[in-house]
């Protein structure tokens, strides 16, 4: 009964969400929430399509997506870490800014290369990475001192600061990693899921789903992987749900699931044993 092709399709839908979610997990564990993930994904997608259209090399496109994510997260780090601007405001502003810039970059793409065919990337390597990353993250977070520092900053910033931890530096590094992963996931989306095409609204709110899957996975690496995989499953099943005649409800299922996960996470966090990091 197990259909391997369906499994692969679920995985290919889940990978972009997983990648962004891991980055966001590190960010939220260190006590900040980067709401700009969706924008960074779009920016990474359009940059990677442009670069791989010019160079004809998809690997280069993937790397440029990663670099774009790094650069975009600097736009978040400067206001939030240096100037103490409200993180929610900055995150959302980054989303809108990045959406616009992504479309602007795509409009160069149309002028440079009207129809360069782009070979789509094979997703084997990334799929493998996606299985390995949660293990690495788990080791990092629960078996090393760096992980303890990250979690300490997330739980109690003032205490960590008094204890001598470099709160701002660690947060900035986590934000850079998170941005890079979000850019990578955006370029993965454009280069494999959509066969090297970029269009307006390419992310379709999947960045928000990544943030939602961090909450659904309750800020644990393995939990996040499972949550991202289940959201990927729902995304894959969307056409079937639509065929069942559920109409607009089928398209909205992943978003409804995120709302449910918010409720569940709020319920769990009432017990003193499972405290989430203070992010907002």
């Amino acid at each position: 009964m197990v259909d391997l092709s369906l499994l692969l399709r679920v995985l290919s839908n889940a990978i972009p969400i997983m990648l962004s979610a891991y980055g966001e997990l590190l960010v939220e564990r260190s006590g900040r929430v980067n709401l700009g993930v969706d924008g960074i994904m779009a920016l990474g997608a359009s940059m990677s399509v442009l670069v791989s259209a010019i160079t004809g090399n998809t690997m280069l496109g993937l790397i440029s997506g990663l670099a774009t994510g790094l650069a975009a997260s600097i736009l978040y780090i400067i206001p939030v870490i240096v100037f103490r601007v409200d993180q929610v405001a900055t995150g959302l502003l980054l989303v809108f800014l990045a959406w616009g810039l992504a479309d602007l970059i795509a409009s160069i793409g149309y002028r440079v290369s009207p129809s360069i065919p782009i070979g789509s990337l094979q997703y084997n390597i990334l799929a493998l990475i996606t299985v390995i990353i949660p293990l690495i993250l788990w080791l990092l977070m629960y078996k090393t001192w760096i992980g303890v520092e990250i979690r300490a900053i997330g739980y109690n910033e003032i205490l960590a600061r008094e204890r001598g931890l470099r709160v701002d530096t660690i947060r900035a590094i986590m934000l850079l990693i998170g941005g890079a992963l979000a850019g990578l996931s955006g370029s993965y989306m454009a280069l494999t899921l959509y066969n090297g095409k970029y269009f307006t609204g390419i992310t379709g709110g999947w960045g928000w789903l990544a943030i939602g899957s961090v909450i659904l996975g309750y800020w644990h690496p393995v939990g996040v992987a499972v949550a991202a995989y289940s959201i990927g499953l729902i995304l894959t099943l969307r056409p079937y749900l639509e065929a069942m005649g559920l109409g607009p409800l089928s398209i909205s299922t992943p978003y409804i699931m995120v709302i449910l996960s918010l409720i569940i996470a709020a319920y769990i966090s009432r017990s003193p044993r499972f405290k989430p990091p203070r992010i907002l």
């Binding site: 616009g100 909450i215 709302i259």
Partner: protein, 341 residues
């Protein structure tokens, strides 16, 4: 790195905010001119700010932005950070279109418009109430849940446009008939009334005071007998009413029909940006939303020379971001210590 707070006078903050906004605008225009012909871009900017036609259009476009921003100033003062205005605007305009073009209910002219507007406002308020109830009774964070509801609203309306509302071979809906369309003078009057109403609620009512107190010191507000539930439900209903109203007026004054949205049209998000830019002051919010809608008009002229329409929101967020950073430089001193052992 050390961040020290310092005292800034109101004049200094306003000056820095204006400089920041201007810098953001210029940066965004320069970014667009790198890609396109700079003289074309400059000519469009000049055209928007020197003619009467674009200014009139801008006043029309400003109504959904201003209405949602004014409602959000109340919500943000109570530290209820809802982003749901976008979905409420979309639903408001969709239900207005449904009532006038599809429902088959024929009333006398002013009453049908009035009823459509009331229906849109109520729908917006109900949609906003979901967020408040989720926050109060389920503890769900209002930022994410309201964002998710935006997507749900957008996809639902898209579905309606593609299926039952669709006419002809293209996915486009019926239009609002000519006699139902609203004029600029009506929009200006509504803008002024809404601004004064918001100012009145904030400055002259007991509810406005409770919002202010709850936002600044939630524990103190509770101690003094203000109920947090009432405050949150109240601000969410008012912001939803206003956003729905904005959507209805947008549909009746300039949208006239709906086409499928690949990404959100953004009037509600612009309202959010305006509320942040204006530091939750209703009068500044009204002025700022007219300024932002001139950028919408600019975006439409830039679209003719190849700038994507979504760049409008990017220009605006660049402005807000640099304003927030500029205000922060007035409030904090930052000392870098590069070598810390």
């Amino acid at each position: 790195m050390e961040v020290l707070e310092k005292r800034a006078t109101r004049g200094e903050i306003i000056l820095k905010a204006l400089i920041g906004a201007l810098t953001g605008y210029i940066i965004a225009i320069i970014l667009a001119s790198i890609i396109l012909n700079p003289s074309d871009v400059l000519r469009s900017v000049l055209w928007v700010y020197t003619n009467t036609t674009p200014i009139t259009t801008a006043i029309l476009f400003s109504i959904p932005i201003a209405a949602s921003a004014l409602g959000l100033t109340l919500a943000y003062r109570a530290k209820f950070i809802t982003i749901g205005a976008e979905g409420q605007v979309i639903l408001g305009s969709a239900v207005t279109l449904w009532f006038i073009a599809y429902s088959g209910i024929n009333l006398q002219l002013p009453f049908s418009i009035l009823l459509a507007i009331i229906l849109a406002s109520i729908l917006g308020a109900l949609y906003s109430l979901i967020v408040a109830l989720l926050r109060i009774y389920a503890g769900a964070n209002e930022i994410l849940s309201s964002l998710m509801l935006n997507f749900i609203a957008m996809y639902t309306v898209n579905y309606l446009i593609a299926t039952s509302w669709r006419i002809g071979p293209f996915t486009i809906t019926k239009s609002i008939p000519e006699e139902y369309r609203l004029s600029v003078s009506f929009i200006i009057a509504t803008l002024i009334v809404l601004t004064l109403l918001t100012w009145f609620i904030l400055a002259r009512t007991r509810f406005g005071l409770s919002i202010e107190v709850y936002g600044r010191a939630p524990r103190a507000a509770e101690t003094y007998g203000y109920s947090p539930k009432t405050i949150i439900i109240g601000v969410s209903i008012i912001s939803g009413l206003m956003a729905g109203l904005g959507g209805a007026l947008a549909m009746l004054s300039f949208q006239h029909h709906l086409t499928p949205m690949s990404s959100p049209p953004g009037y509600g998000y612009m309202g959010v940006l305006v509320a942040w830019l204006s530091a939750n002051n209703p009068i500044i919010a009204m002025v700022a939303s007219i300024f932002f809608s001139t950028i919408v008009v600019l975006g439409r002229t830039l679209q003719a020379i190849g700038v994507p329409l979504s760049y409008v929101l990017a220009i605006q967020s660049m402005i807000v971001l640099s304003t927030l950073v500029a205000v922060a430089t007035a409030k904090y001193t930052i000392r870098f210590r590069w070598f810390k052992w």
